[in-house]
Symmetry: D2
Subunit: 338 residues, 4 copies
């Protein structure tokens, strides 16, 4: 079978989540996340984050989570600073604009914002004829597989404090970023005003856990969650999912496994002289292949085309908690054969 590295959301769910759902399947619980399982999972997260006072909300998916958060946090004229490659800028069908907010998107080398990029762009917005930059959106890991070092995150926090900006992190792949760096759960709360811990791309069937640290952003969040269609009737399912993912470090174990598998891909590509488009240590690998060989690559491995250039193509390979030894061996064989 052709090795499949299309993405990290190709299987239904981690077996331990499935086991939990099976075990609890017929237990009756209250709806909309007001049940004890959600309460207990939220408490477990707060413990992990070492922030008793953080608000935790279990949401359905990433686009929905970003849309709800930014709708809740911003007034109509307040804008979002993000990388040009940001998921909200490219791949969420204008959901933030549909909620009324302009994105100020910035070209970057590797998908990462820097204090100076933020400062330069912030400085261009000077009066009421222009939108008012209010929130910095980063993804960690980024859409290009890169991740932020702790010092980089702290520098972003500092510039946001200086400029009066909020810092929000899309953590769809925060597990992979954390497993690839020294950033711990407690750091996230020190650095961000709000962020979400992604479930879908790390073993969950659905689900992202929004964490709000800044007290000014907490008020009435559930209203916005409901209004934007993001409050699941059977919210206890999300509670079960995160309760399992945060049991005994499973969340970071799964992400660490994905990263190790990606390391293997990286070494296979290096061994075969295939250059990488971005230097990554997370579960996404971007390889540059000549257009003349593109057909052989896509015949050999299931993956996504990330970018088409004049003479070459950037392919994206993604590993996950479910990537197996067989997958890796098949990849090695396929690449060798190309």
């Amino acid at each position: 079978m052709k090795p499949n590295f299309r993405n990290d959301y190709s299987e239904i769910m981690h077996p331990r989540i499935l086991a939990r759902l099976a075990e609890q399947n017929l237990t009756k619980r209250a709806g909309y996340g007001t049940d004890e399982v959600c309460a207990s999972a939220a408490a477990k997260l707060r413990l992990k984050l070492t922030r008793d006072d953080a608000d935790v909300h279990f949401l359905v998916g990433g686009t929905s989570a970003n849309l709800i958060a930014l709708s809740a946090f911003l007034r109509p004229h307040e804008a979002v600073i993000c990388a040009a490659t940001a998921h909200i800028n490219v791949h969420e069908t204008g959901s933030i604009e549909a909620a009324g907010h302009k994105l100020i998107n910035i070209e970057t080398r590797d998908g990462k914002l820097t204090p100076s990029l933020i400062e330069q762009n912030f400085a261009r917005y000077t009066d009421e004829h222009m939108v008012k930059p209010k929130l910095v959106f980063i993804a960690n890991a980024t859409e290009l597989g890169t991740h932020y070092a702790l010092a980089e995150l702290r520098a972003l926090r500092a510039v946001c404090d200086r400029l009066g900006l909020l810092l929000y992190m899309d953590g769809a792949r925060i597990g992979s970023a954390m497993a690839a760096s020294e950033v711990g759960f407690a750091d996230l709360c020190c650095v961000c005003d709000a962020f979400y811990i992604g479930g879908t791309k790390n073993g969950a069937p659905v689900g992202e856990a929004m964490v709000i640290v800044n007290p000014k952003l907490k008020h009435d969040f559930r209203y916005i969650e409901k209004q934007r269609g993001g409050m699941l009737a059977k919210g206890f399912i999300l509670g079960h999912i995160f309760d399992v993912l945060f049991d005994c470090n499973l969340y970071l174990e799964l992400a660490g496994h994905a990263n190790k598998c990606a390391d293997k891909l990286r070494s296979v590509l290096a061994a075969n002289g295939v250059p990488l488009a971005y230097e990554t240590a997370t579960n996404q690998v971007f390889a540059i292949v000549p257009n003349g060989k593109l057909g052989r690559w896509t015949d050999g491995v299931i993956c996504e085309i990330n970018e088409r250039r004049a003479d070459e193509t950037v392919l994206r390979f993604v590993t996950s908690w479910a990537t197996s030894e067989e997958d890796l061996r098949a990849f090695e064989d396929a690449v060798a054969g190309i």
Copy 2:
């Protein structure tokens, strides 16, 4: 244990859906509903609906489904005619207004719109200083447990045709409505421009199947679905869910079971002289209890308070596919004891 008739989304999922997910758990599939399971489930639905040309989209939840549909179907100045008790008017935190559209809400006796109510209200909107009524929203079953007879639905269709209005049906409990009436799947397509078949309240962990019949409403629907945060990454889960629910008539069997259980509640209440607030044949039962006895009722049975009146209270009891003989016996005992 106290009998629990709080709602029809208290358990995780029907065991046959769980079995399917377990069986298919590690099969890799393409994301966002572009997989074969979604295709096959959609085909199965179209067959059931006897409409080869209907568009079927699997969405996550009811509020989200309504929001996506109405956003997709309406221009900014076009308004929605609905009952004052409509879920979109009362219990979706203004999601339709947040998408920019006014609701023209109409007082009704039993949660049901009629041609004359529609005509009277439509006639009040005469020029560009007012919104333009464009879409009639009905729920079937309604939020008060009542349902539409086929003749009633056809009369609504006729008035919509006469006035140039779209007819949209919120089918969160369409199974229960169909099991209680002569309305078949093919009828839905003849009557509605679009509707959704609810999964969450009939055995699914998540999921509603949007059906678009009117060709003018189909264009670019997936863009709106994505923009509003309603496109699940692991869309194949929804495919599996509806593939199971529409296997061998399971969907209507589950709804029929819920209705029969509600019949039992109705007969228990009648036997104990407890009056009903609305005459229903679906899985929702609304009982009127004197305020003096309210504590004994809520001590005895888990249910929701639907309405507080001066001297009495309306309690809502909801049955489901998961309601058991024990639940019904416990209800009978509890009511007898009050």
Copy 3:
């Protein structure tokens, strides 16, 4: 010529405003309301209002003013309580909903809200599945020509304080309301969080002066004004207009004249036995005429049809600063002849 009582915005502008514009026509000034004329007009208003700290913004028209204010003051899930007859509910094409906010509209006897109506409706909004009432919208004078006594306004203020609601007043016809009551400019600031003083219906060619009293509502208002298309490039025109209107009490003189003319209409109607639909002391008069005589009325007087009932019709007659003795005599003759 047929007497014309269609509305109070039928002429271009009061001659004193025209004289000012002619005199200042070629003076170059800075744009967007940042000029000295706007500053001086705002200062003059603040003096009149006896509130040094009130923010004053000159806006173009009523619908625009309401839209800007409510967009600026409310978060997405926050709703507006208003009379069912409110202009924003009926005659602004759903502009507030298009900005994302639900209107909770309340049936009234005479277009006026009362503390108990507000309390009853407020109490129905209990959790995050519903919108959150946040702002009470009143018009003074109302759309039915009635006005609030000072005690009534104070009672509204008290109930808003009790419930944590903002009180906003649409003052399109505030001049007429003030000329008909003991309410003074200083009272408006004590009672309202924000309100606008209408120019268009009291002699101005365009223009309404938004006054924001509550400091929490002032922040970044000009951003919203610009974003919603309500910031006039030649803002100094609005400055001139209000500078003239608030010169030597002209504003209330014009409104007082309109009211006196309306008194005359009222006495003519009474003398001819024509009943009124609402008891008014402002510049709007609503007469009930039998449908059999409708043609003779509309042949005789230019006016608007306010409401069509089974056997009778409500006609609206509006006087203005421009109503002349001839108009009144012509009205008297016309009515006598019907």
Copy 4:
């Protein structure tokens, strides 16, 4: 007195417009643009445009006009292609995003879009995870004072036809662009689906005339106009304004005068060795001055700072219908003295 070239909306109105308003001041007319003056002015425009079937709507200002048009023409997922320097992208406080639409902004050399820029950007939007480019927004003259030749406009029309895009023109300074080129009124209708003819920057106190050529875009436009707060109660004022502006070619005469005055500025600057940032033939002139001399420039001439660079500053000088010989002489003297 210091010569003032800040902008083209510094005076109240052209004297002929003032004369008309004075003459018609007390004539009673119907509201909201339903009067005979608006009808006659629209007819006059249609004649000038040689398009009997064009819809003409008189709106208040530019931001409002753009907002109304794009709200009326686009579905929620449809995006706007524009230059990065476009007024809607920079100076309208995110009004288009506030109406829900993403702007795809493109870096240009001179503020002008080209077919290849449009094609390249269009090609990047490939599926429903991204917005759908639907409308090309150009300003003519552009925000950098450049203008489109007729051949360029026709090439834009052709690429729009090829790609299924609408072409919309912001004509705030269309008079100046036309006076500087061979583009005639009839050409505008051949090239654009819709556009507006700017009044504010060419002698009007307020007012822009929206022209809709494409029949598919005409439906219910007045609803959107009202909903967005852009329908003036005293619409007949706008009718008078455009009736005067389009009397005997006044509109283009005024613009031609402004252009000639700008020619004089250009020759003065050239004579003094001051380089221009953009080559323009319209009423905007962008001069590059060294930062060391910036103070002397702003002491000598009233103008706007357009761009601050490391060592130099771009100043913008704008002429208008009201620019006098004295202004030009004073400019010449001031520049000579720097």
